[in-house]
Symmetry: C2
Subunit: 241 residues, 2 copies
DNA sequence: GCGATGCTACGGCCGCGGCCGAAGCATTCC
DNA sequence: GGAATGCTTCGGCCGCGGCCGTAGCATCGC
């Protein structure tokens, strides 16, 4: 049963505010330096160093040295999925807390871009990602339920038509049977509704970057939809934005 | 973005050893009294009371009073899924820790039954559940990948033949398209391989109890496979145990 | 009514762990 | 070589939070 202590210890690692901020910042799948992570956590570099060492040793983070920099990233998709799960539950916690402490919820202009479109580990999130998922659900191209999800045959045809590589390295091939590719619902933080994650979400995201439909906004997880992207995605997913 | 503090706070709630033990004990989906939970956590009742109040207020637990007892259970499937995710990551943590501290991993006789068959929130787990999943995968009745899962049409036929109610209350109906019912892979603690969870897993588990194929072992999450169950399940899932 | 049981509320003790300053090692640039 | 940058290690401060003892409130049994 694997000592219950490892269970508590893992949760405890995420439970510290400073470490939680670092992990949240790494949720976009990129690798950041210790200094950058110290900054987002609002702590001194030497404190961050200790945290990062613990997270790495516990297997939550992976580190690779490059010159005099050390880049830290989430160790695996399993870690990202765990963090998603915690965030999902934490979002509902707001209900009870709202009465207690006035959650500022300062929705600054920067957050606007974040709410609209951002990366979530290896796939897209935000209003636009939810809208894309909605479009596909409406047309029966994908099934999304809290307990699982599946790309239908027509959905596979649709995505391939967009240039999405469903059989690429990122997409774990179906063990057998119809060449169905797996996707997973991921509860959107800001929208509180599911968008598409998993192999399908990753492949779709990759295509959006490769075709220049979206590009990263410097220094944040938010992404901008380019004019070309607005055209292509709007037409493909029936978006009226 | 919902204050990152709620995120850390949620993880922190799970991160305390006493609370973690309580939550782990509740992972079988049953409701336990405060005294029982205090016992599994190894703390005094008044300490447990405080923990339970916090967990309930945070929305991780739900409580219902019944006479002078108060039964606590996990508030939702989302919470159970979050805990699963943490356990999954915690299991891999063993690799790094094994060198540091000799994890006793006392595999007592009671654990044997636990490893063989137990409940995991609302579905079956353990060697037998993994074997059942393997059998279905081998015959193309279900797809299980780390990122998602789906019951195939032949799988639905197979389970209905066993008497599993796939369209019941537990199974969220497919939003549209072929009447596919959703299932989700759940990494087995002891086997480190996926078994079937989600609506399909819950329905299958329910059938196993209803038909008397398995029954709970008092005071533990382990379940025993009855002679009738050995016969029925062995035949249906090609088990040689 | 009285006592027993299950649970909760309050106070005080105490120890774990986060935090930073100072110092030390590695790498890069000039 | 010397200085600057990026990161880590060590030591000590300090505060948050878990723990239980005592006491108080509900429910059940007689």
């Amino acid at each position: 049963m694997l000592s219950t202590s490892a269970f508590a210890e893992t949760a405890s690692l995420v439970g510290d505010p400073a470490r939680a901020n670092m992990l949240a910042a790494l949720m976009d799948g990129r690798a950041l330096t210790a200094a950058e992570l110290a900054h987002v956590a609002g702590i001194a570099p030497q404190t961050a160093s200790g945290h990062l060492a613990r997270l790495t040793q516990a297997g939550l983070l992976a580190m690779e040295r490059q010159g005099r920099h050390r880049y830290h990233r989430l160790a695996s998709g399993a870690v990202a999925q765990m963090l998603e799960g915690i965030m999902s539950v934490a979002a509902d916690l707001g209900g009870a807390d709202r009465a207690k402490r006035r959650t500022a919820t300062v929705t600054g202009p920067r957050d606007q871009a974040m709410r609209y479109a951002r990366t979530c580990y290896d796939h897209l999130a935000g209003r636009i990602a939810v809208a894309m998922a909605d479009g596909m659900v409406a047309r029966g191209q994908v099934d999304l339920s809290p307990d699982g999800g599946a790309l239908t045959d027509s959905g596979a045809v649709f995505l391939r038509g967009l240039g999405v590589e469903l059989d690429g390295a990122g997409a774990r091939a179906s063990s057998r049977g119809g060449g169905r590719v797996f996707c997973r619902p991921c509860l959107d933080w800001s929208e509180r509704r599911p968008h598409i994650a998993g192999a399908v979400g990753a492949a779709l995201c990759q295509t959006c970057f490769a075709r220049g439909w979206v590009r990263r906004i410097e220094g944040t997880r938010a992404v901008a939809v380019t004019p070309a992207g607005r055209l292509a995605l709007g037409k493909a997913f029936d978006l009226w934005d």
